[in-house]
């Protein structure tokens, strides 16, 4: 198994990728594209996925590809393993990333890239698509790395 490129060790819960509300996101992630909900009524972006637009109450929610760039809104570095798969792994960093070009919706991911990269609020990041091909069914996580 090639897990060396993964932010976290194998064995954590896999995302459910075939639920109607979120399946298009996961399908696009397999193709290296970042899709989020976009309202057919008012044009606003929305995340996480919901059946209705919280702005205009339209049920006509479509999916739009957005630029996989953002900035860190907040971050945390857990040390204490909360899942058996994390025992002995050591600290890892979770980032909350704001997408300025998609109405500032936010997404969760791990900060990947150069070891020791320091998270900082407002730092620019770009998406890294992390395939889990060995999983059944396979899925791709969207991770983030510092730009520049």
């Amino acid at each position: 198994m090639s897990t060396t490129n993964h932010a976290l060790p194998p064995g954590l819960p896999a995302p459910s990728t075939e639920e109607p509300l979120s399946a298009p996101y996961w399908k696009a992630a397999r193709e290296g594209r970042l899709l989020v909900q976009k309202c057919g009524g008012c044009g606003g972006h929305q995340w996480g996925p919901e059946w209705i637009c919280h702005r205009c109450h339209s049920f006509d929610l479509d999916w739009a590809e957005v630029k996989p760039r953002g900035r860190i809104y907040s971050w945390e570095t857990p040390h204490h393993p909360v899942h058996p798969a994390l025992n002995g792994h050591g600290p890892y960093t979770i980032v909350l990333v704001e997408l300025p070009e998609a109405d500032n919706i936010r997404m969760i991911g791990n900060l990947v890239g150069a070891p020791g990269a320091e998270p900082r609020i407002e730092a620019e990041v770009e998406a890294v698509f992390e395939p889990n091909d060995e999983a059944s069914p396979p899925y791709t996580l969207v991770q983030w790395r510092l730009v520049g």
């Binding site: 932010a7 976290l8 954590l12 819960p13 896999a14 995302p15 459910s16 990728t17 639920e19 509300l21 979120s22 995340w47 996480g48 996925p49 919901e50 919280h54 809104y73 907040s74 971050w75 945390e76 570095t77 857990p78 040390h79 204490h80 909360v82 899942h83 058996p84 994390l86 600290p91 890892y92 979770i94 909350l96 919706i105 936010r106 997404m107 969760i108 991911g109 791990n110 609020i121 996580l141």
Partner: protein, 394 residues
């Protein structure tokens, strides 16, 4: 039109709790703990437990109202209420729901309670063990974001960073709880004092603001209060402790999925605190003694700020241990040891302590308090808080 309010309409007439245990150490089953706490609250109020006609709780408590009613042989059940949301966000709401029931005439004598034997069930500090993450969790768990501490930590990172608040401000909150617990025989952490050096040397749970002592323990036990209409309370053994104000809920989209709340770095009290003070007809300057739910010390700080008790720009200066200690501190906080050091009874122990303070029977008694506040579990949704007062405040 008469004013719609609970102010002065209902009172806590009895309080009770079991022995508090470290998690997994209770010799009693969880339901037995609930029964013991209910009986203790009734005995304290001088009311026959069979007269209880309602139960209100929160946090998906497993001790169901109907089973309690049957086991205790109560004459009739008129009110049963579960407040939505996990953890202790609903602790003040459960008391308020009991008060609303007795004031509206739906019931006469309602127990608000929490029972918890985590040794017999899953622990909170462990992440999900399911192989697949469904719904919103699909966007969280695969990234190792699973526990309550991890769900809330980024609110704290953002708020403390934005406002230049140092970790020492959170340390003072932990030190105050441990200090108060040392004189409290009920406290699980009695005999295990905490000082600056021990706190600073404790391991990281989550950087940058969660050391071990910023996080609540997990415990076994149960606690309960008995709520009756204000008129009834006057004839009972203890001086009544009146509900002056209560509020619950959250601000606009505070529960937006995947950390998308517009006002994110929040404990979710901005609107709740406004509504609370409006009903209680008082303000932050009137609070004599404060019990604020510690799931994590950062949430306490946010709760204090959102209730107007501390200004963010003064937090470093104000949140020093001496200011938080009974009897002489400027803002005595968690005077029985709180969740951190008395018992993590999901905040019900904080309600009991607020009542003891206003009865003037607390172990770490604040001099002659008239008004006490209980802030429920911060950062969850919905949250709730409560203001209680003596006869003199009506």
């Amino acid at each position: 039109m008469t004013e719609r309010t609970l102010r002065g309409k209902a009172a806590i007439a009895g309080i009770g709790e079991t022995t508090y245990y470290k998690h997994g150490q209770s010799p009693d089953a969880e339901f037995k703990l609930a029964l013991k706490a209910v009986l203790a609250a009734c005995a304290d109020a001088g009311i026959d437990p069979r007269e209880v006609d309602g139960f209100a709780t929160y946090g998906n408590d497993r001790s169901e109202a109907t089973r309690l009613a049957a086991a205790l042989g109560i004459h009739e059940l008129r009110f049963s209420n579960m407040h939505w949301g996990g953890g202790g966000g609903g602790v003040a709401a459960a008391v308020a729901n009991a008060a609303a029931a007795v004031h509206s005439g739906m019931a006469n004598c309602v127990i608000a309670f929490r029972s918890l034997a985590q040794g017999q069930f899953a622990r909170y500090g462990k992440g999900a063990q399911a192989p697949m993450a469904m719904g919103e969790d699909a966007f969280l768990w695969p990234y190792g974001l699973m526990s309550p501490a991890q769900r809330f930590a980024m609110k704290i990172t953002r708020f403390l960073t934005e406002n230049g608040i140092r970790h020492e401000a959170l340390r003072s909150i932990a030190l105050a709880s441990y200090h108060h617990a040392q004189s409290n025989p009920r406290a699980v952490m009695q005999g295990r004092p905490l000082d600056e050096a021990k706190y600073d040397a404790s391991r990281w749970i989550i950087e940058p603001f969660h050391r071990l002592f910023d996080c609540c323990q997990e415990n076994d036990g149960a606690a309960a209060v008995l709520v009756v209409p204000a008129d009834r309370a006057k004839d009972l053994p203890h001086p009544p402790v009146y509900l002056l104000g209560a509020a619950q809920g959250g601000h606009h989209r505070s529960a937006a999925p995947v950390h998308n709340a517009p006002h994110y770095a929040s404990a979710h009290f901005p609107t709740v605190a406004r509504n609370l003070y409006e009903m209680a007809k008082c303000g932050p300057g009137d609070i004599d003694v404060l019990q604020a739910y510690e799931n994590f010390t950062g949430g306490v700080l946010l709760g204090l700020v959102e209730h107007g008790l501390v200004k963010p720009e003064e937090a470093n200066e104000f949140l020093v241990k001496e200011n938080l200690l009974a009897p002489t501190g400027r803002m005595p906080l968690n005077t029985s040891g709180g969740n951190l050091a008395e018992c993590y009874m999901h905040g019900l122990e904080l309600v009991n302590e607020a009542v003891r303070q206003l009865r003037r029977t607390a172990i770490n008694q604040v001099p002659d308090p008239e008004i006490a506040m209980v802030i429920g579990g911060p950062m969850v949704t919905p949250v709730s808080s409560l203001i209680l007062g003596t006869e003199g405040t009506l």
